[in-house]
Amino acid sequence: MSGIEAFSPKGMLHEGWSAQVDDYAIVCGWALQGKTFLVGDVAGGLSAFEGKSGKLIWQSKDIHKGGLLAMSIHPDGNTFATAGQDGHVCIWESKEGKSTKNLELGKGWVEHIKWSQDGKFLAVVFTKYVYVFDENGQEHWRSEEHPSTVSAISWSNSNELATACYGQVTFFDVVNDNINQKLEWRGSLVSMVLSPNGDIVACGSQDNSVHFWRRSTDQDSEMTGYPGKPSHLAFDQTGTVLATGGSDRVTVWSFQGDGPEGTVPGELILHTEPISCLAFSHSGMLLASGARDGSVFSWFLQKDGQGDPVGGAFAGDLVSQIAWHPDDTALAAINANGGITVWEFKVRTKTPAQGFG
């Protein structure tokens, strides 16, 4: 299994706290401006920990019959939503874990939910349909049936929602009920991420490639040669670099100048097994990556996609999700064994340190 020995956090990652939930931890995120760390497990357990100390604040069990699949924390951090195999979407307040709303969509899995950037809408994927609810849980909009199960969603702005499914990415204006754009490509799209300005759409595909489109110029490109499926993608906050999984190294494409077409990507090589999650810090060019071997690394990237490790730690098992604290002073990782680890991240000055501190 893991080809990596356990080791203490190194570089800019420092001992923080750790905790344990009952089952495979599948979703996590910071709420209440980083005061609370939320974790959901596959069995439908939901736990809230104090962000600084790791002390358990509240816990719920079996919140979705059949299993929990997704979580999205409202931009203001005071509420969040969960979804599961029971076809329900639950809205909760973060402080005490009280459920405030339960939406029943039907018999089927709800695998993706996402609050819009301004927090006015919650987008919900139910099989081949996408619903948009307002903050009060009222249905605001519903898509036509997609040709196949929707595999990813992302808000390009507060009124426009992108959906990916087999063969196409579609941009919906959910306020005026229009299709703004449809990008077609014959392939099974398994992941999608948008650049912060919404112009670049990148999708990982079942055929081990990353396909991307520039909406403004209609140019599209395909990056092939990945040994596995690029199920994990992340853009930095400036939209300059795109980090991709699909192997045991992080491949970073740079959109500087005429790139990434015709350029050689940066490669971040330290993990020993395939990448299982990626997350950029809220500011600066810091990337955190987790892998199936249980290793977590943080990297400082340059605009050309090259990068150096600035911290490393071992999370014990396949890292299922990774989340930067809202002010980037901590990094949290959850794993397949229900393990939770939060490291303090050395506070950075204006000029980030490079290499191991």
Partner: protein, 460 residues
């Protein structure tokens, strides 16, 4: 840490009404101690009452390269991807597909997707066949032929609605299409669970253990009896049977061990190819000649065999002796005891009997055949040939299985494929076993002669 044992998956396929749901419910309600997850197509026939049941649309995803072997089932990848996060909840998966689904992409998913391959192993493909309706379906739809072709186990269900004779015909037709599969008959999907779960069908050794004769050559005769006879005249009697005529060859000095039977069979194949002599009841059966017994008349028919000295004779017959209640008795001459004249007519039992895999005439496009050769193959030549064959004909080759003896390799190489996907790996040591090669192909309009010739060119 996660354990490395892969979760076995059985694919259950068959047309609407063939009894899949009945079978699923039987499996789920039986005390087998397994925790089974069922992935059911959205249009499940009736509800399934127990176990972890997940509905999934059958979403077949082709890739932009257009290669059919890259076609996978997106829904399975999604659902299994989530299931593997819940390993403690189940230890077996059943995937039900509709009769209209192409089994190819389902099987390919377990070869093509890294994450799925790491956690799950395809255990086998079970196809349910509605004995009363399959004949029409085979004539009408490619899907039904493909489901038969892909199967490791064929459950011939609802046999109570069909006569035994039709069942026999149907079974032989299905066997022609797929020689690898095990055929099981059932009335209401009442088959024992171990015939559909834990098949290890993709493990060739297991297959060979269960069906050591699955690669047997086909013969134009079904039965051989070896009789140890004294000098004298014998009567061969036949009752009503399935055919108005039956071919037969009589061989002298037929040995009863396996080698001798095979040698006899080989020489009979040649004799069967010759023009048959018609024999009417009462005629004397010649030695070493292809004869056709004329059985049109009613009641018992008798033919005679003369033996010049004590010796063993072999009778190679087109049908089994059982089918015509065929008996051999010594004809008493008046000089022998007259005390118990009547009771003395005792049937002579054969000292050896053998039922052969019979050849059938059929016109299904889908068929299967085996290539079996002794000796070693040149790995490079074989790879070149197989790569070319699978890239040109992969669409029409549904399944491939077998083992190969590579020159210079002390272990057997076992391989199997689905369409163009092909995996080969070293298996056990040859040791003292004679080195040989067996390949089985199941597909549409395959040219056996051509493929055998091509394979022979790969031999060292």
């Amino acid at each position: 840490m996660s354990n490395t044992q892969k979760v076995p998956v059985t694919i259950l396929t068959g047309f609407l009404g063939s009894g899949k749901t009945t079978l699923l419910n039987r499996i789920l309600s039986e005390e087998h101690g397994k925790k089974i997850a069922v992935i059911e197509n959205e249009y499940g026939e009736v509800g399934i009452d127990q176990g972890l049941v997940i509905n999934a649309d059958e979403e077949v995803f082709e890739m932009s390269n257009g290669c059919i072997c890259c076609t996978v089932r997106g829904d399975l990848i999604r659902v299994l991807g989530n299931l593997m996060k819940r390993r403690d909840k189940f230890d077996y998966v059943l995937v039900e597909t509709t009769g209209l689904a192409d089994p190819g992409p389902v099987a390919q998913t377990f070869f093509m997707d890294d994450e799925i391959r790491e956690e799950f192993s395809l255990d086998g493909i079970v196809t349910l066949v509605d004995a009363a309706h399959i004949e029409q379906q085979l004539g009408r739809s490619d899907e039904s032929s493909e489901q038969v072709a892909f199967a490791d186990v064929l459950v011939l269900n609802k046999t109570d609605l069909v006569s035994d004779e039709s069942l026999d015909n149907l079974e032989s037709r299905l066997r022609d299409m797929n020689r690898m599969a095990r055929v099981i008959r059932s009335k209401q999907a009442d088959v024992s669970i171990d015939t559909v779960l834990n098949l290890s069908a993709f493990d060739l050794d297991q297959v060979l253990q269960r069906r050591p004769t699955f690669l047997e050559p086909e013969y134009p005769f079904e039965w051989t009896g070896v009789f140890s006879l004294e000098k004298g005249r014998y009567e061969l009697t036949l009752e009503e049977g399935p055919d108005p005529t039956m071919s037969l060859v009589q061989l002298l000095d037929q040995g009863k061990n396996e080698t001798a039977l095979n040698t006899g069979a080989e020489s009979c194949v040649r004799l069967y190819a010759e023009q048959e002599q018609l024999m009417n009841p009462g005629d004397l059966v010649p030695v070493g000649k292809h004869v056709s017994l004329q059985l049109q008349s009613e009641g018992t028919k008798s033919f005679f065999i003369d033996v010049d000295k004590a010796r063993d004779i072999g009778l190679f017959t087109q049908h089994t002796a059982e089918e015509f209640n065929m008996k051999l008795t010594k004809v008493n001459t008046p000089s022998t005891d007259e005390i118990d004249n009547d009771q003395n007519i005792s049937t002579i039992s054969p000292i050896a009997e053998r039922v052969w895999v019979a050849e059938h005439e059929h016109d299904d496009e889908v068929g299967s055949f085996a290539i079996e050769r002794e000796g070693d193959v040149d790995p490079e030549k074989l790879n070149r040939w197989l790569s070319r064959l699978l890239s040109e004909k992969g669409v029409d080759i549904f399944r491939t299985k077998g083992f190969i003896s590579y020159a210079g390799e002390s272990r057997r190489i076992v391989f199997q494929g689905v369409h163009m996907l092909f995996t080969a790996q070293p298996d056990k040591e040859w040791g003292n076993e004679p080195r040989r090669n067996q390949l089985v192909f199941i597909g549409r309009n395959l040219d056996k002669a051509e493929m055998s010739k091509e394979f022979d060119k790969c031999l060292v």
